[in-house]
């Protein structure tokens, strides 16, 4: 009797231990590491800074990367989508044609809505192009999304027309990337504890956590990532599922584009390019396996935070970009090695 209760307690403990991803410890370890090296690191203002950097950069893109990787693909077009959707937002907000000028003067909120909708629609369009090709053929996602990346970059550049589009006099739009709720006064500075971009990021993550956990679609993404053949045999529409993965990925990335543009109050074609690789790194550090079917949105967020903490932290301790890159590369390789070695031990 006694031994049984002991066993069950041990099992519960093990259960909880397994529920907490090892990456959480890595995240805290890193925060501790940087806090020890820099006094300014573990301050409210810097923590909020990291969070905003995350939510306007790698944070949301990582979610899209995770979706693609979970279904055994990879989406390299995400950076292009960020650039394009950000550019479209900026263009619509500043477009000097009578129709838009009029709306801008009369009803800026409506214009903002148009811009945001157009940006997300663009993301959806690119995503569904990816999805259409990838769901139907056996072409590796790498090459298709790479081509789509270039197409996005082009559209973005053409819309920009070789310059940076600046957005002035739209405080509501600036609020998306720079504003926050619950401002507190610390020292002489006012710090927002609930940045809008963070709220958007969290909402997206909560929504997709729900989708992955509580809908058939989520189950099917895991299923095709785990064993495509079995999934198809069970009557799952794998083509549609794969299509939706890339469609949603495009839409998610568009949010980053909007936030990015708002934060800088300007858009250039270079914005966001390269984020796709950060996103992959974050998703993978969070626990996604290239072979598919692993990790959750929550774990991906931890991965994205780790990447952001590293980027910010090395800056804070006065290390250059270079150390940052080296560290991210090392962490990536280390995390994945540990993962694969652990899995091999379990199955062999």
């Amino acid at each position: 009797m006694n031994s049984q209760s002991l066993r069950s307690r041990r099992e519960t403990l093990a259960h909880y231990y397994h529920k907490v991803p090892a990456t959480v410890f890595l995240l805290f370890g890193m925060i501790l590491f940087f806090s020890l090296l820099s006094d300014k690191y573990f301050t409210v203002s810097n923590i909020m800074n990291v969070i905003v950097q995350c939510s306007s950069g790698v944070g949301i893109v990582a979610l899209a990367s995770y979706l693609a990787i979970c279904s055994t693909g990879v989406d390299l077009s995400l950076g292009g989508i960020v650039s394009l959707s950000g550019m479209i937002t900026a263009k619509i907000l500043t477009w000097d044609i009578p129709l838009f000028s009029q709306i801008r003067n009369n009803n800026p909120v409506f214009l903002l809505l148009i811009a945001v909708t157009a940006a997300i629609a663009a993301g959806a369009a690119i995503g569904s192009m990816n999805g259409l090709i990838l769901a139907r053929t056996k072409i590796p996602s790498f090459i298709v999304t790479l081509g789509m990346y270039k197409i996005c970059e082009t559209f973005s550049r053409v819309i920009a027309g070789g310059t940076t589009i600046r957005i002035n006099g739209l405080p509501l739009f600036e609020f998306i990337g720079n504003g926050s709720l619950l401002n507190v006064q610390i020292g002489r500075r006012s710090i927002g504890l609930l940045p809008i971009s963070m709220i958007i990021m969290l909402l997206l993550y909560i929504f997709f956590s729900f989708v992955m956990k509580k809908t058939r679609f989520g189950t099917y993404v895991y299923a095709i990532g785990g064993n495509n053949e079995s999934a198809a045999l069970s009557g799952i529409n794998t083509v549609l599922t794969r299509y939706r993965v890339f469609l949603y990925g495009g839409m998610i990335a568009a949010f980053t584009g909007i936030i990015f543009t708002s934060r800088l109050t300007s858009a250039s074609a270079q914005n966001g390019l390269g984020l796709e690789f950060d996103g992959i790194a974050a998703a993978v550090v969070g626990g996604a396996a290239m072979s598919g079917g692993r990790s959750t949105p929550g774990r991906t967020l931890i991965g994205a935070l780790i990447i952001s903490v590293m980027k910010n932290g090395f800056n804070m301790i006065g290390m250059s970009n270079s150390i940052q890159m080296i560290a991210i590369g090392c962490v990536l390789i280390a995390v994945v090695s540990v993962d694969t070695l652990r899995n091999r031990r379990r199955f062999v």
Partner: protein, 319 residues
């Protein structure tokens, strides 16, 4: 008839690619009068030769079923290293030392890639991506913000000089191409590369040293990137850490257009040449036709997608 078809079928892909290349070439000749000039053709070939050097290395990795994302960073790092070495003496001796150093470091990077893939069992995409980060980080670290330039005349000859009226990069690319082509077609190592890429299990059962083959392939890819780095640095007459951010992508695109399959074991050197030529011709043609440079990137994207879409291997997925 059937007999000939059997022999022809495996070559159909190459043939159709050659046809596509010919069509692009001919239409450019017709549309743009300045295209067919000797100067422009040489220019196209010179640009192609750099793409080709990088694509050949990546193609090797793709032939064994992998990929190499680290070549751009390898070129940047080796380039910076050369700058460092060169600075020391500013002489021919330091140049030779620099070149040796470049090649040595590129081999080392290849070894790290191979180690991660073979012994840590990382997917090649992630392994070479991680290594890429580290290598580029090192490149930044070593420069500390400096740009090295103004190399000696002898060194600049490698990328900018001419031999018998032919630019050096072309000569180097052709030599490299011949060596790799020979290696793949006429050496046991080449046979092993195809065997491992085509069916790793079967290769293992045949007693082929799979791990050794994989590591050698990644080392070769990096070494070739190192050579490309020498040519590029010399041509640029400068070394900076930002070099080559898109090299890996371009190289992979050229290899994919050239019919190197991502699943391994399929494709040949000729295909890579065609792929690199198509990429360069398309962008060169657009420049000549006065197409807005902004559009050029996108059109190359369309070319990439179209070329893989028409590929025979892109069979339709069943539900």
């Amino acid at each position: 008839m059937k007999k000939y078809w059997g022999l022809l079928k495996p070559r159909l892909d190459t043939l159709s690619r050659l046809t596509a290349l010919a069509i692009i070439f001919l239409s450019l000749v017709i549309v743009s009068p300045s295209f067919a000039s000797a100067a422009n053709i040489i220019n196209v070939l010179r640009i192609t030769s750099l793409t080709l050097m990088m694509a050949i290395g990546v193609a090797l990795c793709m032939l064994v079923g992998g990929i190499d994302l680290s070549i751009g960073a390898t070129i940047a790092l080796t380039s910076i290293l050369f700058g460092k070495f060169f600075q020391v003496g500013q002489s021919t001796a330091s140049m030779i030392m620099g070149i040796t150093g470049m090649l040595a470091v590129s081999i080392l990077i290849g070894l790290v890639n191979g180690f991660c893939i073979v012994f840590l069992h990382l997917p090649p995409f992630l392994a070479t991506f991680g290594v890429q980060q580290i290598v580029r980080g090192l490149a930044y670290l070593l420069t500390s913000g400096l740009v090295y330039s103004n190399f000696t005349e002898d060194f600049r000859f490698i990328g900018g000089g001419q031999l018998f009226g032919i630019p050096m990069p072309i000569i180097i690319a052709v030599i490299l191409l011949l060596i790799i082509s020979f290696t793949l077609n006429k050496t046991t190592f080449g046979y092993r590369v195809y065997a491992v890429g085509s069916n790793r299990e079967s290769a293992r059962y045949s007693g082929i040293p799979v791990n050794k083959t994989l590591i050698t392939t990644y080392v070769l890819s990096s070494l070739i990137a190192g050579i490309a780095g020498i040519v590029y640095t010399s041509r640029l007459n400068a070394a900076e850490p930002t070099i080559g951010a898109e090299f890996a992508q371009t190289a992979i695109a050229a290899a994919a257009i050239g019919g190197i399959s991502f699943r391994g074991g399929n494709g040949n050197v000729l295909g890579v040449v065609i792929g690199a030529l198509i990429l360069t011709l398309v962008s060169n043609g657009m420049t000549l036709l006065g197409v807005d440079s902004n559009w050029q990137v996108g059109i190359s994207g369309v070319v990439i997608i179209l070329s893989v879409l028409v590929d025979r291997n892109a069979s339709v997925r069943k539900t």
